[in-house]
């Protein structure tokens, strides 16, 4: 937004004008970085407007209704009927079993589309695009580099140089384009990223990170989907924010682990040392402070935030190539292994009641890791067409 727009809003002298303004209410309901920048600087510049803005934001938020649960399976069935107006009758009469199977597959595809669409809000990282076996970085100028290494090291310098493993690229800054780089690490791979300010990030399998090539504004913001361990370079003048789809974490020089996979039901932040405060990724959201050894968990279903104490060694071990578990449901462990090794692991029902404690070395082959769990937890492993099936 240009300066002329600030002049437009300077003329607003009632709460109503702000409430009715589309650019304003879009910011309140779906804030993004660009809008935050605009409105924060507007409020800084014209503090006299801040009361109007707060009141307007409060009223806009009050419009949020409690929405009824939408039964997805019913909507999927309706779509099926729409797509197959005649077949429905014939198939269900003569080939019931086949039809049921086809429907099940269809529903699976249907819900895939579903997930990728319904999660598409104004968070800059889109769900469901982690395809392919190669890691990728999409540069600010729009070009893409791919890399195939197990563990990729990426170093961003403030002069615009980017080093991937030992390759240094010189990226010419294009003034009109954004200056955001996006790193995508597929399942089975990992990456270590050094940002221009000296912050060190370990990005785990199946994760994406968006970061600016240079931190120009008065805060440092990166966006994360998946899991990463952060060692943030302290700079009290430029607080560092990690923003996930649901949670925003404010950092004041510290190291911590964030796990926010789209497919998981929670987003977890564990603080190793230093100080962070975290809260929902919403405007004026209430935040809570964490001290080392504390974990904040955001539950996506109830949209609630809870805090508890954890043993930090279980949350930083993956960057050193092993996983530690203490009484963890084995189904959760299999999820982590699926991502790490990029293999399909299916579990029978009822396995979530079995827990595992111990250390798994991620340098081992997946077969051996699964064998270790089976031995300790008395479950059976079968391999079939490159997938693993776990049974009681």
């Amino acid at each position: 937004m240009a300066i002329t727009d600030k002049e437009k809003y300077l003329k607003y002298d009632s709460t109503e004008e702000f409430i009715l303004d589309k650019y304003f209410y879009t910011w309140v309901l779906y804030p993004n970085e660009e809008q935050n920048l605009f409105w924060n600087s507007f409020i800084d510049q014209y503090p006299g407007k801040s009361n109007l803005i707060r009141e307007a934001a409060l009223i806009i938020k009050s419009f949020q209704p409690i929405e009824p649960e939408v039964p997805e399976y019913k909507l999927n069935l309706i779509l099926h009927k729409i797509l197959n107006p005649e077949k429905t009758i014939i198939l269900s009469r003569y080939r019931g079993v086949k039809y049921a199977a086809a429907l099940a597959i269809f529903l699976a595809i249907g819900s895939l589309i579903w997930v990728s669409v319904s999660k598409e809000n104004r968070f800059p990282i889109q769900a469901g695009i982690m395809t392919g076996m190669k890691g990728r970085i999409i540069l600010a100028n729009g070009s893409t580099r791919e890399f195939d290494t197990e563990k990729t090291s990426i170093k961003q310098s403030s002069s615009g140089h980017l080093t991937i493993n030992n390759d240094t690229l010189e990226i010419k800054a294009d003034k009109s384009s954004s200056d955001i780089n996006k790193v995508m690490i597929p399942y089975g791979k990992r990456s270590e990223i050094m940002l221009a300010d000296g912050t060190h990030i370990w990005l785990n399998s199946g994760s994406q990170l968006s970061y600016p090539t240079e931190f120009k504004s008065d805060s440092r913001e990166v966006y994360l989907s998946g899991e990463a361990f952060f060692d943030v370079k302290p700079n009290p003048e430029k607080p560092f924010y990690v923003i996930t789809r649901d949670v925003r974490i404010k950092v004041l020089g510290t190291s911590f682990n964030v796990s926010s996979y789209d497919e998981d039901n929670t987003c977890q932040t564990v603080l190793i040392k230093g100080r962070v405060s975290a809260g929902k990724n919403q405007l004026f959201a209430k935040t809570i402070d964490l001290i080392p050894g504390e974990r904040m968990t955001y539950d996506k279903k109830n949209r609630s935030i809870t805090k508890d104490k954890v043993d930090i060694k279980f949350h930083e071990s993956w960057i050193s190539g092993y996983l530690l578990f203490d009484n963890e449901p084995i189904t959760e462990i299999y999820k982590k292994l699926e991502r790490y090794y990029n293999k399909n692991i299916e579990t029978e029902k009822g396995l979530d009641k079995i827990s595992f404690s111990g250390k798994l070395d991620l340098k081992d082959r997946l077969e051996d890791v699964l064998e270790n769990i089976s031995f300790a937890s008395a479950v059976k492993v079968q391999e079939r067409n490159g997938s693993y099936i776990i049974k009681k």
């Binding site: 009632s14 409060l58 009050s62 249907g110 589309i113």
Partner: protein, 198 residues
């Protein structure tokens, strides 16, 4: 951003009209939950809402070659969906009510306690706002919902609600003003609260 979206809508709609079922699935999965939620505010009868969604999409699939272009799929669907819902509701004897009637209700429950955190508004303010929200007329509630939750423009709201553009503007303006005025009664508290924040 809005312009980009509209361009996508034009293209997506054309793909659908050419018989592209992937485009149809996409249109359906984005819009059917929105229609469902909107429908449940006009009637509490789930199966009528589901029937209206199925009829709407079956019809546009059957007639896809003859459909016009649209640059706003969601608006096109909501408008047509409401027309059908209205028809199906009046076919059912039990639900024989006319939307244009003064006594239709817009069944919406506001989640004000969840969406506003105590940091932003005191209990007292939240109470005042809740009362004012519940005092809005059904038509005001519907118009506010269409603007802030379905992100539609005044012209579109006017068409969906069968009123003039000025009418839709007024409806929303009066609702917003009523809410603001409800807080004014408590202005002294607000100032006190803002002091605490800064």
């Amino acid at each position: 951003m809005m312009k980009g979206l509209k361009f996508e809508d034009i293209e997506l709609w054309r793909r659908f009209k050419r018989g592209d079922n992937e485009a149809l699935s996409l249109i359906y999965s984005v819009n059917s939950p929105k229609l469902y939620r909107y429908g449940l505010k006009l009637t509490s009868n789930h199966s009528i809402v589901e029937d209206a969604i199925q009829d709407l999409f079956s019809d546009i699939v059957r007639n896809r070659k003859n459909l016009g272009d649209t640059d706003h799929i969601q608006f096109y669907l909501i408008k047509s969906f409401k027309r059908r819902l209205k028809r199906e509701l009046s076919n059912e004897k039990r639900y024989n009510l006319d939307f244009e009637d003064k006594d239709y209700s817009f069944g919406i429950t506001y989640s004000i306690e969840q969406s506003i955190i105590l940091e932003e508004g005191s209990n007292q303010k939240i109470n005042l706002l809740r009362n004012a929200l519940n005092d809005l007329t059904p038509r005001q509630k519907e118009a506010i919902y269409l603007k802030y939750n379905q992100d539609l423009e005044y012209e579109q709201i006017a068409e969906i609600m069968n009123i003039g553009i000025e009418g839709s503007r007024n409806l929303i303006y009066r609702a917003v003003k009523a809410l603001k005025d409800s807080l004014k009664e408590n202005k002294s508290l607000l100032i006190l609260f803002l002091h605490k924040l800064t």
